[in-house]
């Protein structure tokens, strides 16, 4: 939910709540005040009747005007005076009346006097007042919302600009961080803090990258020495079988280390955008060529290759293209079962490479991370998929994974 909507929602809810409570209280207070006033009028009427009786010793005439009724009834018991409501049906509908009953003795006879005053005018007044009030409040509410919206949008503008800047930021990218200047202190503090944090991250990233790169470079020479010494050692005819096995194990480990190092250097180079030359590549020819090169690997595992290659062109760096195909296809071979299947399906903007899986589905979240493979095989560096991902990222190609019919599917998609 957007900040505006959230704010407006809360705002509206509370305003409506306040309006509702205020409206109800307003109605009752207003009614109370007006009924009190009618009661006062009734009291005045009562005093007039009493004065009349006192003066002439008889009841006044029964009077019935539009909004006032006076009635007399002979009665025996006397109860104290009381106010009340009476609904009277007339030809044009029911009308509510406020009533006052009291007793008055006239010539030793008790009379019950009922004075009624119509509440119609009062109700009309209340309704009118409430209607006017509500309309005013509603107008205010709408006005507030509009003003809020405008002001908020304007006030938060620097925030949204900063958000855009952050979103377009990429570690190791060429863009520098340019937060818009604002005269609001909080935003300035936020921008400064963000800038510092991002610069620190960028710096750490560069340091780490350089470290990896330098470390890998520095490792190449010792590796070359170890390998050369092992190469010399195996020339020795006097080696016993046990010694040979030890040398062989060391040799294999150096081999793995060398490969790992090469892969790390390669990742660093891709990261550094060192493969920037782009050309249109006839993917069908490249894939066919690659399959031919790896023919022996397929037959050594008695794999069945199912190909469906349609003409396709992709715009990317040739070396990187080779690299991705190499990794994808050799993965499909290495992580396959004896006698399994490899499917290569090339369409105009899509390449699918699938293979019979030796294990369950890969973790889509982590599979492209470096060294994420939990059960590394002895002949696996754990960097193959990272390299694929990295190449796809710098080449603006999408690479997705699916697990279907117990086969790993790697899907490469691109647009022109």
């Amino acid at each position: 939910m957007k900040l505006f909507s959230k704010y407006n929602r809360i705002n509206l809810l509370f305003t409506l709540l306040v309006f509702l409570i205020a409206g109800i209280s307003y109605y009752f207070i207003l009614r109370y005040v007006l009924v009190n006033q009618i009661d006062d009028d009734l009291k005045i009427e009562q005093r007039e009747i009493q004065a009349h009786v006192l003066k002439y010793n008889r009841l006044p005439d029964e009077l019935q005007v539009k909004d006032q009724v006076i009635r007399f009834q002979i009665t025996t018991d006397s109860i104290p005076e009381k106010f009340g409501h009476i609904d009277m049906t007339e030809e044009h509908g029911t009308e509510e009346f406020r009533s006052l009953e009291f007793f008055i003795p006239v010539q030793s006879q008790m009379y019950k006097v009922t004075v009624l005053k119509s509440m119609e005018a009062t109700e009309d007044l209340i309704q009118a007042i409430i209607a006017i009030t509500l309309v005013t409040l509603l107008l205010l509410l709408v006005l507030f919302l509009l003003i809020n919206r405008m002001i908020l949008r304007k006030l938060w503008k620097p925030f949204y600009k900063s958000l855009d800047v952050m979103r377009s930021f990429q570690l190791g990218g060429k863009h520098s961080l340019n937060f818009p200047a604002t005269n609001i202190e909080e935003f300035n503090i936020m921008n400064d803090t963000l800038k510092q944090a991002f610069q620190k991250a960028e710096q750490d990233y560069i340091t780490l990258k350089e470290f990896t790169e330098n470390a890998s470079h520095e490792l190449q020479t010792p590796l070359a020495i170890i390998r050369s010494k092992l190469d010399l050692l195996i020339q020795d005819q006097q080696l016993s079988a046990a010694q040979s096995l030890a040398v062989l194990a060391a040799y294999d480990s150096v081999q793995k280390l060398a490969h790992l190092n090469t892969s790390l250097l390669l990742l660093a180079k891709i990261d550094n955008r060192q493969f920037s030359e782009i050309s249109a590549i006839d993917l069908k020819a490249v894939v066919q060529n690659k399959l031919l090169q790896l023919e022996e690997l397929f037959s050594s595992k008695s794999l069945q290759i199912v190909t469906d290659l349609k003409p396709a062109t992709i715009l990317m760096n040739e070396t990187l293209c080779e690299l991705v195909l190499n990794n994808l296809i050799s993965n499909a071979i290495h992580h396959n079962v004896e006698g399994g299947t490899v499917i290569v399906n090339l369409q105009s903007h899509k390449l699918i490479i699938a293979n019979t899986a030796t294990e369950a589905a890969l973790d889509n979240e982590k599979m492209f991370d470096r060294f994420s493979n939990k059960t590394p095989k002895a002949d696996h560096t754990g960097l193959g998929l990272s390299i694929i991902k990295q190449v796809c990222d710098v080449s603006h190609i999408s690479c997705t994974y699916k697990y279907l019919d117990s086969k790993h599917h790697f899907i490469i998609e691109w647009v022109d």
Binding site: D231, I234, Y251, K256, T262, E296, L297, S330
Partner: protein, 226 residues
């Protein structure tokens, strides 16, 4: 024939020297820029193995200086940097080949042998070993003057063996040489075994002794065992 090894890592230089040195080659070693420059300019070498990163200067400067003096020595660059730009620059400056560390000594041996062959036979490019004669331009093998049909991989394999004769070559080194990096790190070399078996069979059917000797689980040695 003399070979100059210019490499600041003494141990690596010594390893190369030990591996390449035999009755045919004599090794000379230089550990820094200035002694390398002196030696390269004064003596004639069949091949100079040149490291780019040297104390005192760049190997590329030596390369340029040699070319300016019209020295015809073969030049193999070895570098810790596996960068296409560096490779292109070195080859453009007149180097014959470029090899990235860490390399297999057998790979280095094969590259040096190829450079020397190209320099010394002036385009004839024929390699002999015992009864075998390989025409590298035509990619033909003759055993006692009778042609023997080899596949492309078998021919490359045989060439690699002869370039590293009398040496134990690991399966890994052979596999990397024949299939470049396509294999990844593979511990399964069955397909290599098939090629070697076929090559051995073809050679022996042509009447040669068994040159290929298997050495424990490590690799193979190509030599005259008579």
């Amino acid at each position: 024939m003399k070979i100059l090894i210019v490499e600041d890592e003494k141990e690596l230089a010594n390893s190369i020297c030990t591996y390449l040195g035999n009755e045919q080659f004599m090794c000379d070693v230089a550990y820094d820029f200035h002694s390398a420059m002196d030696k390269a300019l004064v003596f004639e070498y069949a091949c100079i193995i040149l490291d780019i990163g040297l104390p005192g200067g760049s190997g590329l400067t030596i390369l340029e200086e040699l070319k300016r003096n019209d020295k015809a020595d073969g030049l193999l660059i070895i570098s810790a940097k596996n960068s296409l730009d560096d490779k292109v620059q070195a080859l453009r400056a007149g180097a014959d080949d470029y090899l990235t560390k860490p390399f297999h000594l057998s790979e280095l041996g094969a590259r040096v042998a190829a450079i020397i062959r190209r320099k010394s036979f002036d385009g004839k490019n024929v390699l002999s070993f015992d009864d075998l004669e390989m025409d590298l331009n035509e990619r033909m093998l003759q055993v006692k003057n009778i042609p023997v049909e080899l596949t492309r991989k078998e021919f490359d394999l045989l060439l690699y063996f002869i370039s590293n004769k009398n040496k134990v070559i690991t399966k890994t080194a052979i596999a990397e040489h024949l299939w470049d990096d396509h294999l990844g790190v593979s511990s399964n070399y069955d397909f290599l075994y098939t090629h070697i078996k076929n090559l051995r069979k073809k050679l022996m059917q042509a009447g040669t002794p068994d040159y290929i000797q298997s050495v424990y689980g490590m690799g193979y040695k190509f030599s005259l065992t008579r």
